[in-house]
């Protein structure tokens, strides 16, 4: 049974891909059939993934001893480009996370997209995304990973722009694609350098080659490669300074935000570093960069999230912040903590996004949390789920986030105190802004014009499932020994460090109390605080004006320069061409002068030529004759 799943792991991405084909070519117009096909495919993948997990557990396929299936995809110019399946504990974990969330989101979408005419298209894209993401997860080499990496990027583009008639959605999709493309550029360079340096892109082969290389040549060149590779995750996982696309990506349908921009695609960057940890772990400089950039992003995004008003935007910045956490964990050398947080975060962030979707749909597309209020009376299930999510992200025991966040904080504390401090402050702010979101939207008085009602069953049950997972996955992972399976190098048994855990619980509780005082009890006016903070508030509210800066740079470096190039092309390059044309005309006119219609002049010119030719040939004839000595 488990063997079947293991040897048919390639079916996991293939089934959703087939679903995409069937829906795209056949049942696009039929909502019901499309939904059934999509859910069936991802459900089957989910079951297979569970089988894979079973296989991993029974065969003990840890990261050091993976299971590999390999085939040649193309052979070109002396390179063998392979495709295949690499199954180890990390892969199995990712497979389960991705298929679980994808299945939940698929089911949820049946309810959410009910009235949308493009539902068939939606399910097609969702299936394509699932296929790409799962393909990425089981990647055997960098090229395969890059291919599916771009594939998920495409799906993200298509799904952000799903409401293509909205200009904002269209622009957001474009922005997401291009921003991540900049990251991909760096990553592609890194991959190329790996191919050129090692002659292979295969993870397994590289695992043996890299230490040898370091032994011989040192780490300086590899550091360049590592930094270039890291640019990819910066783009994909929304790290500063390429995070700008993620908040805008919230223009897409909410299930998409839950699946792609919270739980799965954005963690691909983290996953990539985890997968290639055997390279990164050897490069202290790169690790430092990753850790500090992650820490900074976590803090930076949290400061923005504090002042945002739209429901999903807050969640988006929170995602950026949490991704920063994961990066930080990777950077301080704890793959286990990072992956653990990846898993718990996937569940509770997907949960919160789906709650957001339910709320926004119930509010008839009203996204501003300050226009909501008292929703806990109208939508009790959603409220409870959301509360679980907030508790989880704030790191309260026994919810999932507590265990994973504690692991990260402990790992950071071991390496660098400033990083630990940064992470703790971020944790404090996270608890604050998430509670703010919860209190503002769900507490207080119900507004008179509030249309909210509890959502339908399709949307409710996935929430419940994810809520349960958000509660138990942390404790379960911790006590069932997540770290026994997903680890790099030598695994060390980690007990909970209660000094760190205790302080983080206290911080979170303080933050939540503060939020409660401000937004529910109204002890302090939030507006007054905002005014006191002045410039800081403005900066935070406008996300540090980074979008504006980028727009300015783009205008200058792309559009203006483009117009300049066009001007050069039409006036200088073409000018030369046309100048040559005019020159030819002029020369032609000069050469046409003798041709004045006087036939006899033509004759004279012709015979002048003949005379010249005769003289020329005579010259040689005489020369030859003088050599041969032959007169006649």
């Amino acid at each position: 049974m488990f063997d079947f799943a293991l040897y048919h792991a390639w079916l996991i991405p293939l089934l959703p891909a087939l679903a995409f084909l069937v829906i795209g070519l056949g049942t696009r117009q039929d909502k019901k059939k499309s939904a059934i096909i999509g859910i069936t495919a991802i459900g089957a993948s989910f079951l297979l993934s569970l089988g894979v997990v079973g296989a991993v557990l029974t065969k003990r396929l840890v990261m050091a001893a993976p299971f590999v299936m390999k085939t040649v995809w193309a052979h070109i110019g002396g390179m063998d480009l392979g495709m295949g399946v690499l199954i180890d504990s990390l892969t199995a974990m990712m497979l389960v996370v991705v298929t679980t969330v994808a299945l939940m989101v698929n089911i949820y979408s049946v309810g959410y997209m009910e009235h949308d005419p493009g539902m068939g298209r939606f399910f097609a894209f969702l299936s394509l995304f699932a296929a790409s993401m799962l393909g990425l997860v089981i990647s055997l080499n960098f090229l395969q990973m890059y291919i599916f990496w771009e594939g998920v990027g495409l799906c993200s583009y298509l799904l952000i722009g799903f409401y293509y008639y909205k200009i904002s959605a269209r622009e957001a999709a474009k922005k997401a694609f291009i921003t991540t493309r900049i990251g991909d550029f760096g990553m592609l360079l890194g991959i190329l350098l790996i191919q050129i340096t090692f002659g292979t892109m295969d993870f397994i082969e590289l695992k043996t080659l890299v230490p040898q290389y370091i032994w011989i040549s040192g780490t300086s060149f590899l550091t360049v490669i590592g930094l270039l590779l890291f640019i990819g995750p910066i783009g994909k996982s929304g790290q500063f300074p390429l995070h700008v696309w993620l908040p805008d990506a919230m223009e897409g349908p909410t299930p998409v935000s839950a699946l792609i921009h919270a739980a799965t695609m954005v963690v691909a960057g983290v996953y990539l570093i985890g997968r290639a940890y055997f390279i990164f772990a050897e490069l202290p400089i790169v690790m430092n960069v990753i850790a500090w950039l992650g820490g900074f992003t976590a803090f930076f995004a949290a400061t923005i999230a504090v002042t945002q008003r739209p429901f999903k935007r807050i969640l988006a910045y929170s995602t950026i912040s949490q991704l920063g956490y994961m990066m930080l964990a990777l950077g301080v050398g704890s793959l286990t903590a990072s992956m653990f947080h990846l898993m718990t975060h996937a569940f509770f962030k997907a949960l919160m996004f789906l709650c957001a979707g339910a709320v926004i749909e119930a509010m008839h597309e009203e996204a501003d949390i300050f226009k909501m209020g008292g929703l806990r009376h109208r939508m009790p299930v959603t409220f409870k789920c959301m509360t679980i999510g907030v508790a989880a992200i704030a790191g309260l025991p026994p919810f999932a986030g507590f265990f994973s966040k504690d692991a990260i904080l402990a790992a950071a504390a071991e390496v660098s105190f400033p990083l630990y401090l940064l992470a703790s402050v971020t944790a404090f702010m996270t608890a604050f802004y998430m509670s703010r979101l919860l209190f503002v939207a769900f507490f207080g008085e119900v507004r008179d014009d509030c249309p909210a009602q509890e959502t339908n069953a399709f949307m409710r049950w996935p929430l419940v499932v994810l809520a349960v997972l958000s509660v138990i996955s942390g404790a379960w992972g911790h006590f069932a020994g997540f770290g026994d399976w997903v680890f790099y190098g030598v695994h060390e048994e980690e007990a909970i460090n209660w000094a760190i855990a205790g302080s983080s619980i206290v911080l979170s509780l303080v933050a939540m109390w503060l939020a409660y005082q401000i937004y529910v009890e109204k002890r302090w006016s939030s507006f007054q605080i905002a005014r006191r903070l002045g410039v800081l508030y403005d900066l935070s509210y406008h996300a540090y004006y980074i979008d504006e800066i980028y727009a300015f740079i783009r205008e200058l470096a792309v559009d203006k320069l483009g117009r300049l190039a066009l001007w050069i092309d039409t006036h200088v390059v073409d000018g030369v061409v046309h100048g040559l044309g005019r020159l030819a005309k002029g020369v032609g006119a000069v050469l046409a002068l003798p041709q004045n219609g006087d036939v006899q002049r033509y004759v004279a010119i012709f015979y002048t030529g003949v005379v010249a030719l005769v003289a020329y040939s005579l010259f040689y004839a005489v020369k030859i004759l003088s050599v041969t000595g032959g007169a006649f």
Binding site: Q600, A604, Y607, T608, V610, V611, V614, A615, S617, L618, A621, V622, L625, G630, A631, F632
Partner: protein, 192 residues
């Protein structure tokens, strides 16, 4: 008297020795060649220098006939005949007719030439050309090996209908086209 007689003797002896030294047939041949060549050139100059175009045309005909005689002198009987028939006959008649058709006034100055500069330039060019060609002709190490191949007409016919049959056909078509073309041209478009 004796002295005079002696001189006559000497002269006769010289003449005989001359006749012995030089083979008379080749002298006659040379005479014929120089006669007709000279005449042909003379008439050719006449073509250019006569003021009256009719005289020019007659002079041209005379040139043709002289050339025909030259052909005959080297045994090209058939060519000579063709020369007389085609050039001396048809072409001459055509030209005279053309003159009659295009000139209806005074014939005295009907063959105008260009100015002095033109003449000078033409003389220089022609002189250069001639000297060049003459040099080529003289310097070329051709071995003259006169040959008589028998009757020309059957040989020509054989060649024309075997190896050169395609050019022959083409020439026939060319003549036809030229005839039609001449008719069309002379008839004019507006009368159609």
């Amino acid at each position: 008297m004796d002295a005079l007689l002696g001189q006559v003797h000497a002269l006769v002896a010289w003449a005989f020795s001359l006749a012995n030294d030089y083979d008379v047939p080749s002298l006659i041949e040379a005479g014929v060649f120089f006669l007709f060549a000279g005449l042909a050139l003379l008439f050719a100059c006449g073509v250019i220098f006569f003021r009256n175009v009719v005289h020019s045309a007659l002079s041209l005909t005379a040139t043709f006939i002289c050339v025909a005689c030259l052909y005959l002198s080297i045994g090209a009987d058939f060519m000579g005949a063709v020369q007389i028939l085609v050039y001396g006959g048809a072409v001459a008649v055509l030209i005279v007719m053309a003159i009659m058709l295009t000139r209806r006034d005074n014939m005295a100055h009907s063959n105008p030439s260009r100015g002095l500069f033109r003449h000078a330039a033409a003389a220089v060019l022609t002189g250069l050309f001639l000297s060049g060609m003459a040099a080529v002709a003289i310097l070329s190490p051709f071995k003259s090996a006169p040959q008589s191949l028998g009757d020309a007409a059957p040989g020509l016919a054989d060649l024309m209908l075997s190896h050169y049959v395609l050019p022959f056909e083409v020439a026939a078509v060319l003549l036809l086209i030229a005839m039609i073309g001449a008719i069309v041209l002379a008839k004019g478009a507006e009368e159609r």
